[in-house]
Symmetry: C2
Subunit: 304 residues, 2 copies
Amino acid sequence: MITVLSGGVGAARLLRALSDVVHPREITAVVNVGDDLVLNGLTICPDLDTITYTLAGLNNDELGWGLSGESWRVMDELEQLGGASWFRLGDRDLATHLYRSQRLSEGATKSQVTAELCTHHGLAIRVLPVTDDEVATQFDTDLGRLNFQEYFVRHHHDVKVTAIDIVGAGEARATDEVIDSLVSASRIVIAPSNPLISIDPILRVGGVREVLERRRDDVVAVSPIIDGRALKGPADRLLADLGHEVSCVGVVDFYKGLVGTWIIDEADASRADVIRSRGVKVIVTTTIMADAQNAERLAHAVIS
Amino acid sequence: MITVLSGGVGAARLLRALSDVVHPREITAVVNVGDDLVLNGLTICPDLDTITYTLAGLNNDELGWGLSGESWRVMDELEQLGGASWFRLGDRDLATHLYRSQRLSEGATKSQVTAELCTHHGLAIRVLPVTDDEVATQFDTDLGRLNFQEYFVRHHHDVKVTAIDIVGAGEARATDEVIDSLVSASRIVIAPSNPLISIDPILRVGGVREVLERRRDDVVAVSPIIDGRALKGPADRLLADLGHEVSCVGVVDFYKGLVGTWIIDEADASRADVIRSRGVKVIVTTTIMADAQNAERLAHAVIS
């Protein structure tokens, strides 16, 4: 059994690659909920949806988010009404949010709703929100405090960040399913998601960090920084803004005490010895999942 | 200035007819909110929307509700997900509900949101929800207690009703705008909407009935029952279920003490004297707004 701490796109790709080399029923994704939001009355869980859509083969590769074959009738109308249309919700995608919002209002937990959506999409991988409690990643910036999607989507993460606050994480508890999956997994994987805003909001939820510290030898992490840059998103910029080294070494230090084995890209092979000096194992391989072959190679490295 | 107590479709047609014979700026609609609901996370106000859409010329004549040129992409997806798709929300219509839900979550009142939507649609008629407080019309039935849309849409009002409960009406207060419009109107009109489930939930909101009692001589009502039948909807069946006479006389008695002048249909001309014996004036005319000419005739009767 493999449990993967997961953000959105990068994690989804790794999960898809893993499910080609081990049976999907042996994989559990523990997913960030810090960028979840309530907008236009609807509870939206971007990371959970990205993972579900990607594993169901329904992801929109062109956009890099959302569903394939999407249409925008509702958003076009909402824009005409002068509504909150900066966070684009496609017509197909909206059905997910309507479904989730209704089920939550009926008393279902986010975990239950996620399981229902996974069943609907025929997924064999188990997808678990890290917690059913409220967690909200917020940013202190030049423009004042922003919630996740204001920072990420509305301002295209093009704003200087002075601090990140995972509001509610201190009081939130990981679900029993999450803790069980972490405790019983033969391997815990940290996906190449943004360390500061995808993985840290998982680690800060009550119960998670303690298990990883205890199981450090079984924890494998894939560096999201390659040759000093993030493949996607603002991880590099955020590391710099918050005083971390913008390199795979910076990420190794950020996850200090939690990871037994690091997988870094060939482009960073020269940093392997520095990382080993931190007392961890290092595997050097191609970490960019540009094609199926590379993805499979990375998946094999993760489970090796 | 004319103020019209309004339910949905019947009231919308009368308002449209009135705005052809007096300037729309002189008309205020005070609208029922007892059938409002929160579904799929969204706050939906069917009567307010029917009136707004109809006055904007955007109503779907084919369906009898919703918007013209509608599409159903979101509902089709939601149905596939096994979600709550029995209450059909078109893609264009959804934008209204997303807009409203977002504005309410930002702290706007239902009155403010309604005004914004009316401005967007370029309406000159003033449309006011009777209250910004929560009011919910519920039904005791053979199937147990049902909320409005469960009764009306889900079960197609094809169920025996033993009692109607306007939950929250006792504590709700009419808005200041509503009271002002009732106090200052030269004429108060009760639209030919369902007396029990469209108009009564307005009358029961704190402040409304008192003004009508005081201004009874200036109150004109159009009978929604013609020749013992409702043109549309379950008004006739509900009157019978709840022990009222199923006729224009039954409605006259239901509104006892509130109406100075009754407008009844030519089909009920033989009941005019019975109604006059209740101490009210009676105008007999065509009340079915089947075409523009009839609608105009009714509008003239209302303002005469």
